[in-house]
Point group: C2
Chain length 404, copies 2
């Protein structure tokens, strides 16, 4: 009778079981489990089996999955760790935005597309989707390396820059042209949000940790941190940033007090449960039928190659001070593009400035960059390790003060 | 831009934060946190603030919440523990179905309703909703008592009987009358499902636990048990049982091997995160405006009193062999009615056999029985403890064999 719940549970079962089966299979082939989950999503998705479709249930589960993932990554990252790599990360983010934008704009202009279309495609190539990178580095035990921290810090800055580029390009789409006042407001709000969460919130949490200990509600530290996770993720979206930036900052706010409250240990089962939904849903959005259209495939593949190369080169240049192989590792980690690129392209599609075939090319870029990075990353990080100092756990103070 | 995710996260934040705040408040007033969560739901729901509405997001989260809750309860319950209380539980379930059905049917007939309507209302009073009872007993550390086990076992049998009653009553609604062949098929499938999951699945799990240990996928035991949870919950719905019966049986399948894999410890954070969504959504379905209709309220309150009394008396009679106070504890634990009663009534509403006012009375019964049981239960269980043998943890073998 209560078939609504039954339908939901069946769909969740199919997604979860397929994700973990594929993950097991890929682990046995010595590939990251996350590729298995993405492949499971492609196979379950509308373009192959049609067992997983887009809808609010999938959206809810995948949103929860990715915010829990970035929360877990944030728990392992102290703000001070990010500030240490701040200058490099800023350079990585800025050069890593300019090069893809320029190459995307240039290539589309070469193809004979109008400047406005080319601007949209350039903008769509800007934003790194750090979810996949974070998962691969986390699974491989590399999330505390200096290179990983540069990537995480750069991804946060990158998201702010991406917001700026989107606001500017959307302004071009509107009749009145870009609105500089609105543009600076958007930027100021996003920067203020990130600054506040990096500097003030962690202190608020550690100064008030005794209050949390005094709560009667069961498992108060976990409960409070999860409420902050949901709140900051929603708030990040409302200032125009990605939810995952808020989730990462929420995790970071509890990085100092997390050990005492065993938040990392408690977040792991939640992540084991929810994170696969994100990757399967991302995979299910891949339309394999795109590969049958030669008008899309050839230029799409070129654009994808440019998208990969431009981040490796751009971010690599930014990180060159770290040594060549470390710069390569950072560059490869910044390759994946995700929802943000698709959002930019779909704004263009909606305003008629981006034709359907060009939109399909951007989708192809998302797929290629998403699927390419996971198998490359562990190898590149191993190479970088030969340059020394990949593992930075040793740079932590041996006994971090638990209370300010 | 990606406001879909933003909207979902904001709604989840509001539900979670309100649930935990209200839970904290009620804990400080020495009331079960679950009442706070229900009250939070009523206040957030459409009839007061309108911040939480019904929809697929809420449905997904509340379904996940309640199956995780019953899974956690199942993890603490061995099939052998249930078989030990089997005879008592069967008696509790059967008498606890007959008395509410008879009283509901009788009262509606007294009110001058036609026999068919009265049959539907009788059927709606049958099914116990064990989610709330399980949560209260679990929070109070009473879930391993003999009385709790009788309640859990009786609730499983009760669900099968409820299914039978629903099938019979729905048949009355159709033109051809009840189909005895279909009815016995439904019953046989449900009984076969429960029997298989109680007898075969736990053995399958413990005999193959070494295979699970050999999996490469991260945290394989938890992952496998969660997949079984989702699968059995979906399967239970597909044979006409409630998802929570499947979830409980899934937990029970891992009760033997759970300790070694620390499944209980790992399920707790997942439950802390997801369970509140169930209780807030249940609360949000309460329409307080009903209380303004005297034509509904007076007979509704009488029906609610009958609903409470009939389970206390019916289940109490079934459990009388346990001692008077224990029988009272079992009876009170079986009082809450939930979704199943509402489903029965809404089938009647859809076929026109149950008028709107009578449906509203059934809704009122759900509310009253849901809100009444949590504050009563701890007190009654404390009384029963004075009869001795409430805590049955001591009856476990001191060192259970972990591998068959």
């Amino acid at each position: 009778m209560a078939t609504e719940a039954g339908k939901i549970l069946l769909e969740l079962f199919v997604i979860f079981a397929a994700a973990k089966l594929a993950g097991e299979l890929f682990e046995r082939m010595r590939q990251p489990a996350v590729i298995g989950e993405l492949v499971a999503g492609i196979v379950l998705g509308p373009s192959v089996l049609g067992l997983v479709r887009s809808g609010p249930v999938q959206e809810t589960m995948s949103t929860l999955g990715v915010v829990v993932l970035l929360f877990a990554v944030g728990l392992e990252t102290r703000a001070s760790d990010l500030f240490k790599v701040g200058k490099t990360a800023l350079l990585v983010a800025v050069v890593g935005v300019i090069v893809p934008f320029a190459l995307g704009f240039g290539y589309l202009s070469l193809l004979g597309q109008p400047a406005r279309t080319a601007l949209f495609v350039g903008a769509a190539l800007v934003a790194t989707s750090v979810g996949i990178t974070a998962r691969v580095l986390s699974d491989a035990g590399l999330i505390s390396t200096r290179q990983a921290r540069i990537i995480l810090a750069a991804a946060v800055i990158d998201d702010i820059l991406g917001l700026l580029v989107l606001a500017a390009v959307s302004g071009i789409g509107s009749s009145s042209g870009p609105d500089l006042g609105h543009l600076s407001l958007v930027l100021a709000m996003a920067a203020a949000f990130v600054g506040f969460q990096m500097v003030v919130t962690p202190r608020l949490v550690s100064r008030n940790s005794h209050l949390v200990d005094r709560l009667r509600v069961g498992n108060a530290p976990l409960v409070v941190s999860l409420a902050v996770l949901l709140g900051l993720s929603a708030l990040a979206e409302s200032v125009g940033l990605a939810a995952i930036v808020g989730a990462f900052l929420a995790g970071m706010a509890f990085a100092e007090t997390g050990d005492r409250w065993s938040l990392e240990v408690q977040t792991r089962p939640i992540a084991d449960f929810l994170v696969p939904f994100f990757f399967v849903v991302v995979g299910s959005r891949v339309d394999v039928r795109l590969l049958a259209h030669p008008a899309v495939v050839a230029p799409g593949v070129v654009l994808a190659v440019l998208a990969v190369a431009s981040k490796v080169i751009g971010c690599g240049i930014g990180a060159l001070g770290e040594g060549r192989l470390s710069a390569l590792a950072v560059g490869v980690g910044m390759v994946p593009r995700g929802e943000v690129g698709l959002i930019v392209a779909s704004v263009g599609l909606a305003t008629g400035l981006v034709p359907g075939a060009v939109y399909a090319m951007v989708v192809l870029v998302t797929v290629v960059t998403t699927v390419l990075a996971p198998p490359l990353m562990p190898a590149v990080f191993r190479l970088a390790a030969s340059e020394g100092s990949v593992r930075s756990k040793g740079t932590h103070p041996a006994c971090p003060s638990l209370l300010e």
